[in-house]
């Protein structure tokens, strides 16, 4: 019996990665949920906005690296982040101007906006690949680990290692700060409240003297910031690949929805629900049980509820179950 090793193994292969992944999803889901909450449509271009923002950050990072500037133990890309956010904000504002505004003025139904965002997604998709190509790009530098598996083993003398990456910690911290800020912004500030008012009843917002174009612009800028931050942190942790970013869209939407669309807190919780369900339900308990149980009882099988082939199926099944009992998500989202 070796509870400590069992615990460390569980932390290392389930809790730490799922927490980090959850935070990554949560940051993406915040952007989706914000657009949904204020502009009232599901923005399919979000994954590609993340890709575009990350591309800007990568190019800037390369520039900084070439110039010999670094950010100490932290990745240089974090220095490039503000610049990338500015670029992305300009791009999405431009997109809004050229594309979305027209439909907004005509008050088209949300389904049309969804398809329009699909069109924007195609275009951004192409533009990103034009700029940076389709290859994987690794742009992480600085200290990769806070705690390495080997370092942990050496320090504690345990058989199991525990690894924590710098970016994982940064992501979790940023996600928590982002949601707190957003919550404060939407519920306490004048601009935030005017955004909620606009999303609730556009005509009446007009009658209260709220400038809709300003609301929309602020929404897009925040979204751009969230998308770029999410994209860069994800890319630092894993790597950057446009196609993967496009594929991220699905778990991101799942997170936003399971938490309740339009609700920032929901987005965060949703991200963790999806991440943990992907990792835990298909987890093979063999290792942990081997540590806990006496040798005679040690399992020879994997002790796995389902094979990892079904991890997406499982996370979606959980999502559907949640929705069956809470039809608008965990945190009472909106529905148009």
């Amino acid at each position: 019996m070796d509870l400590l090793n069992a615990l460390v193994a569980f932390l290392n292969f389930v809790v730490v990665p799922a927490t980090a992944y959850g935070a990554q999803l949560a940051l993406g889901a915040l952007g989706v949920t914000l657009i949904y909450g204020i502009l009232r449509f599901s923005n399919f271009a979000h994954g590609d906005t993340m890709a575009l923002g990350t591309t800007a950050a990568i190019l800037m990072t390369w520039g900084l690296q070439a110039a010999g500037i670094s950010f100490g133990p932290l990745p240089t890309a974090l220095l490039a982040l503000p610049f990338a956010i500015a670029v992305t904000a300009l791009v999405v504002l431009g997109t809004d101007r050229v594309v979305y505004r027209f439909y907004r003025k005509r008050k088209v139904s949300p389904s049309i906006l969804v398809i329009v965002s699909l069109g924007v997604m195609f275009v951004m998709n192409g533009v990103t690949r034009f700029i940076i190509g389709v290859q994987d790009q690794s742009f992480a530098d600085g200290e990769r680990f806070l705690v390495t598996a080997r370092g942990f083993r050496d320090a504690t003398g345990l058989a199991e290692g525990l690894a924590i990456r710098t970016t994982q910690v940064v992501t979790v911290v940023v996600a928590v700060i982002a949601v707190a800020l957003l919550f404060w912004f939407l519920n306490r500030t004048r601009t935030g409240k005017s955004m909620r008012a606009y999303s609730d009843n556009e005509d009446l917002a007009l009658l209260s003297g709220i400038n809709p174009e300003r609301v929309v612009a602020v929404t897009w800028i925040i979204t751009a910031a969230l998308a770029t931050t999410a994209g860069v942190l994800y890319g630092l942790d894993k790597s950057f690949n446009p196609f993967t970013y496009f594929q991220l869209l699905l778990p991101i939407f799942a997170s936003a929805i399971v938490g309740g669309l339009g609700n920032p807190l929901g987005a965060i919780v949703g991200g963790f629900v999806i991440a943990f369900s992907e990792v835990t339900v298909t987890y093979a308990w063999k290792k942990v049980l081997t540590y806990i149980l006496p040798d005679s009882l040690a399992p020879t099988e994997l002790v796995q509820l389902m094979s990892t082939d079904y991890k997406f199926a499982v996370s979606f099944a959980i999502l559907i179950l949640v929705l069956l009992f809470m039809p608008t998500g965990l945190f009472k989202g909106k529905s148009v």
Binding site: A9, N12, F13, V14, V16, P17, A18, Y21, Q24, L25, R129, V134, Q135, D136, S138, F145, T148, A149, R150, R153, G161, A163, R165, Y234, K238, S239, N241, F243, T244, Q247, L248, P251, A275, E278, V279, T282, Y283, A284, W285, K286, K287, V288, L302, Q304, S307, T308, D309, K311, F312
Partner: protein
């Protein structure tokens, strides 16, 4: 005169990151032949690219249909993914009598598909690689391994054939878990693989797809530190991206001890692309074989040249390496028999697929070193 050859690969979609290298490889061969001025009375070879999307059989069929019936291509270099390759073969190539050579469709199922003698591939069927990989592991006295494979016909086929061979040789596969490419996170897979345990992890995937993600996550969490890399996973890019962690990992990919592969890499570098990319050399060879067969048959009609492919690829004859296509054309014109070796030591067997000679490699200090050939 212009002879058009179609290059149908998944320029967009899941394999989009390896296709540019493949297309460049094929086009390199075509340029070489055109520049030699010795092809079919000085004809030039013009590549026509089309997107197979890798996943959308209908779109791939339509693209192939367009190349064949509208652009008038005489041969197809492609396609890449086994699924769309089968669809193009059945719905376009056979009906129109156009022959195709795929550089990368490795599914064993294609061996038995009806093809009217029109289908070849320069990549070996996965069955053979499983045996080679087993031999390597047994020589290193490694008896328990974990396996993860990319969830498509390539990965599954390779994992299955490896598992069969390895277990027959007395080894134990603790787990054989699929992973989907281009997904956001591989923690669950790595968790399961780590729990199952094993001396090494066999990763039957692609260099910059899920395979890379799995390796990265395994190293980060300390789950495994030695990896076995089959053909889809061998690439300098992976070694550069992962860095030190890969030192000591080993694997194999199609190749013989001919200098072909190195020559090809030199040519690729000169042409400005990465010659070690997955299936880029196979693509060069596929294109080269098509053109040599046309020259040998003295005709661009598939009916005429397709039967020549096997002869040209196999011994006996004067060996032909990359960069020697001009020489080969001369020899053909003189009626001398040739044996095309190319970048991957092509040897075609049975229903027109590569026999599968493998190069065993090991990664040392950031470079892929060849250990021996099998």
């Amino acid at each position: 005169e212009e002879v058009k050859i179609g290059i149908i690969l998944g320029f967009t979609g899941p394999l989009e990151s390896i296709t540019p290298g493949m297309a460049a490889g094929a086009e390199l061969a075509m340029k070489e032949v055109t520049d030699s001025g010795k092809f079919m009375d000085g004809s030039s070879v013009v590549p026509v690219r089309a997107d197979s999307t890798c996943v959308d059989a209908a779109a791939a069929t339509a693209a192939a249909e367009r190349l064949v019936t509208s652009d008038g291509i005489k041969a197809i270099m492609g396609s890449d993914c086994s699924g769309v390759t089968g669809a193009i073969l059945q719905n376009v190539a056979r009906p129109n009598g156009i022959a195709m050579i795929s550089p990368s469709a490795t599914s064993p199922g294609l061996s038995t598909a009806e093809d009217d003698g029109l289908f070849f591939r320069t990549a070996p069927s996965d069955a053979r690689q499983g045996v080679v990989m087993t031999d390597i592991l047994m020589d290193k006295d490694i008896k328990t391994v974990a396996v993860t494979y990319t969830n498509n016909d390539y990965g599954k086929g390779l994992a299955d054939s490896f598992q069969a061979a390895f277990e027959a040789a007395g080894g134990t596969v603790t787990i054989s878990a699929a992973h989907e490419d281009n997904k956001a996170d591989y923690s669950a897979e790595v968790g399961a693989l780590a729990a199952a345990g094993g001396d090494v992890l066999v990763v039957a995937g692609y260099t910059d797809k899920g395979g890379k993600g799995i390796i990265q996550a395994s190293l980060d969490s300390g789950a495994f530190d030695t990896f076995v890399l089959p053909d889809g996973m061998v690439g300098q890019q992976l070694v550069d991206d992962i860095g030190d962690g890969l030192t000591g990992s080993f694997g194999q990919y199609p190749g013989t001890d001919s200098e072909g592969a190195e020559i090809f890499q030199g040519m690729a570098t000169a042409a400005g692309f990465e010659g070690t990319g997955a299936f880029a050399p196979e693509s060069y060879d596929a294109a080269a074989l098509i053109m040599l067969a046309m020259a040998a048959a003295g005709s661009t009609d598939s009916k005429d040249w397709a039967p020549k492919v096997m002869d040209l690829a196999n011994a006996p004859g004067e060996p032909i390496l990359p960069g020697e296509l001009g020489k080969a054309l001369d020899l053909i014109a003189q009626g001398v028999e040739i044996d095309y070796i190319g970048a991957t030591a092509v040897e075609l067997i049975g229903p027109g697929e590569s026999a599968g000679n493998y190069r065993e490699i090991e990664i040392k200090d950031g470079v892929i070193e060849t250990v021996r050939f099998r």
